[in-house]
Symmetry: C2
Subunit: 429 residues, 2 copies
């Protein structure tokens, strides 16, 4: 079966969908030459077909049922741009029929990636999702093709534009968290409800997609320890700066002999790191491979056209496979059984900031909490505050994460502590 | 014709070749699964077959004639890792027979890329060269696959590890050029004769390869205005730092309505640019695309294993094509006719540094030279020197490159000038 035209079934026509249609039309000739046949949108499912759109849908069968599009006889390739879990059934249905899928849906891939890839393999279809992690950055295709044989040791990534914009704005303009969030909203970098971004959940979803490719391991989304940037104070960023660090919300995957250390949390990173220069709404994915060494991919993690371009990149390769009947590369690498290093056992440095009563003996109490948990102090500063308070900033040496958290719990319980300590991990390999 | 084993003819077995053999062996199973057949080295041409090597060549037909390997009946894929122009005939011969080529040879691609790609197209073969520009960074495959439909506006790249290491070392350690070059030699980042690197010629070769892909335009290597970093003084880096810049040797391609502006030269770039954080022996390729916006690829531009990994990435895709008889993507994009904006007409800012006699009227003479050439001054500083000399540092506003060079010529001719002015372009869009 080698179709003389590749017929796309498109689910959704929001800003990314409209961007995709625009690019598909503008690059028509190049697409046709590359694929070996024209690529046309045959069917489209819209939530509200009456809504005015910036694109020409003439000649396209417009409906409202995603499942009907996914199972239509005249659809060779499903492009899913609605997002969210409700798309699971249409995507499953297409793959079961052997119809390949291109999607930007990070929820779906993070929660059901393993099942969907298995379904695809069983029916000799494919599922590609470049736009789901790192937006316009062609990092998944690089891992699939040129870097397919690479053994990665480390992946550290800034994957959420909203939180990176907020942290960059706090740092650069000296604004507090609420002001920076408001600025992000004004510029369209934060949604009305930014919970998914601020909580780190969005980063965890994207991280799980990248980890599947880079480490050939299925990591259950719920198993990834995830902390967001809520509660981050301007004073923490100022302290970071003072010690030569900058603060980023990171997705981390690090291979240890005992297993893979996977986690999402804000972290102090040295200013000399290239990731420290990834600012504002941009994303950056740093990889360290056995053969290639250090590598960074940088670009826009969101936005209509960057995302649409990533989708078109996947469509090009997938449509070519439809026409030729041959996959770009054969069987995907086997996945290793999941072997994890629990966060409790990860060794890391910490930054701690405490507000204490300014009287004799307090420092000794704090030091005792750390010492009895086996956490040793690398640097400590005490500054006089107002109203009889003192501020203590501590940078620890490497210690087991569990031990530091236990020490922090102990410190929180001290009578002389005015406010829960701030604790941020330092990522400095 | 779908071979049950893909037989490689390998030219050269230096450090990259040995790295390639090592990776091919270690990743054997993954390579076989991806390609759909085993990939074996069948023949190898060595300059000195008697030399001891770290790799197992049992079962491989070892000879000394590259052309014999390129034309052998039992070779399905030619991997050329010798480098240099002498490989032109073997590569031509393979392509003429329809045997695809993977090469790391930047000389060959920069000088004969147009011809070799035409030969490949005529015989339905391919020529891939990921390792020839940006070493281990998978930027060419990204442009070929995921970013194939992107229209790039700008490419600015640090493509030479030797010069980047030298400039980084001068800047960080306050060492002069000769000391930094010596450090690069000691660490193996500079060859015994580093002329190709220091002159900018290596950067120009790699730039021409990247420009062909990114802008679909054949730019004759000899037509690229090229300046290296010879003559760069520590004082220039100090001045750059003072004004918020860092100094990098750049390959630049910038699309203007009048044509493509392509050039290689050292430049002051703002410290806030991500490229400013690309230090030491690393390479960085910054791209700006119509749809994707800003993007950066960062990694090792040289070294045995990074280069070998890039070669293996190309071999994977090419071997798969051998097995399936189908190209990953169809006809490559058509190339646009070469339309160039000559350097003379490019508008740019400049940094100038002069040593003049410290007496009245000198500043007026210098200002007159600039003014009569139509170059206006943005900032000017004069500092007292020793022996009746004064040092003048000037940052200009944007002006036509030709006009600035004319002004510099005028200044050089002044009686009161003690030494040829230093002139470095500022790249600040």
């Amino acid at each position: 079966m080698s179709p003389s035209v590749v017929r796309i079934g498109l689910l959704g026509c929001g800003v990314v969908g409209q961007g995709f249609l625009k690019l598909l039309q503008e690059r028509e000739r190049l697409v046709r030459d590359s694929v070996g046949a024209p690529v046309k949108v045959a069917r489209i499912a819209l939530r509200d077909p009456g809504k005015r759109r910036e694109c020409d849908l003439s000649g396209v069968h417009v409906g409202t049922d995603p499942l009907a599009v996914a199972t239509a006889e005249d659809v060779d390739l499903l492009v899913e741009l609605v997002g969210g879990e409700s798309m699971l059934e249409p995507v499953r249905a297409a793959l079961r029929r052997g119809v390949p899928v291109v999607t930007a849906n990070k929820h779906l891939l993070a929660l059901h990636g393993e099942e969907l890839e298995r379904l695809a393999a069983e029916s000799k279809a494919t599922i590609r999702c470049e736009a789901s992690a790192g937006g316009g950055i062609p990092v998944l295709q690089a891992m699939d093709h040129g870097l397919r044989t690479e053994n990665f040791q480390l992946l550290v990534a800034i994957l959420n534009g909203t939180t990176n914009f907020i942290l960059s704005t706090m740092e650069r303009d000296g604004r507090d968290f609420a002001e920076a969030l408001e600025a992000a909203r004004t510029l369209g970098f934060a949604e009305a409800d930014p919970t998914l971004d601020l909580s780190g959940a969005d980063t965890a979803q994207k991280l799980s997609i990248l980890v599947r490719r880079a480490f050939r391991m299925d990591v259950a989304l719920g198993s990834i320890p995830t902390e967001g940037i809520l509660g981050m104070e301007l004073e923490d960023l100022r302290q970071a700066d003072r010690f030569g660090y900058t603060v980023k919300l990171l997705g981390i995957a690090l291979r240890h002999p005992e297993g893979l250390d996977v986690r999402v949390h804000p972290a102090f990173i040295p200013k000399r790191y290239l990731l420290a220069a990834v600012r504002d709404e941009f994303n950056g994915i740093y990889l360290r491979g056995e053969a290639t060494g250090s590598m960074l991919f940088y670009g826009k993690g969101a936005g209509a056209l960057p995302t649409a371009q990533a989708v078109l990149g996947d469509v090009l390769v997938t449509a070519r496979e439809c026409v030729s009947g041959v996959k770009v590369l054969g069987s995907p690498p086997r996945h290793d059984p999941e072997r994890r290093l629990p966060l409790d056992m990860v060794r890391t440095k910490y930054y701690l900031r405490l507000m204490v009563e300014d009287r004799p003996g307090v420092l000794a109490q704090v030091a005792a909490c750390l010492g009895s948990a086996g956490v040793s102090v690398a640097q400590m500063f005490q500054a006089e505050g107002v109203r009889g308070e003192a501020s203590i900033t501590i940078l620890t040496h490497q210690a087991r994460d569990r031990d530091v958290r236990e020490a922090v719990k102990g410190i929180s319980g001290l009578q002389t502590i005015r406010k829960s300590p701030r604790a941020v991990r330092i990522f400095d390999l």
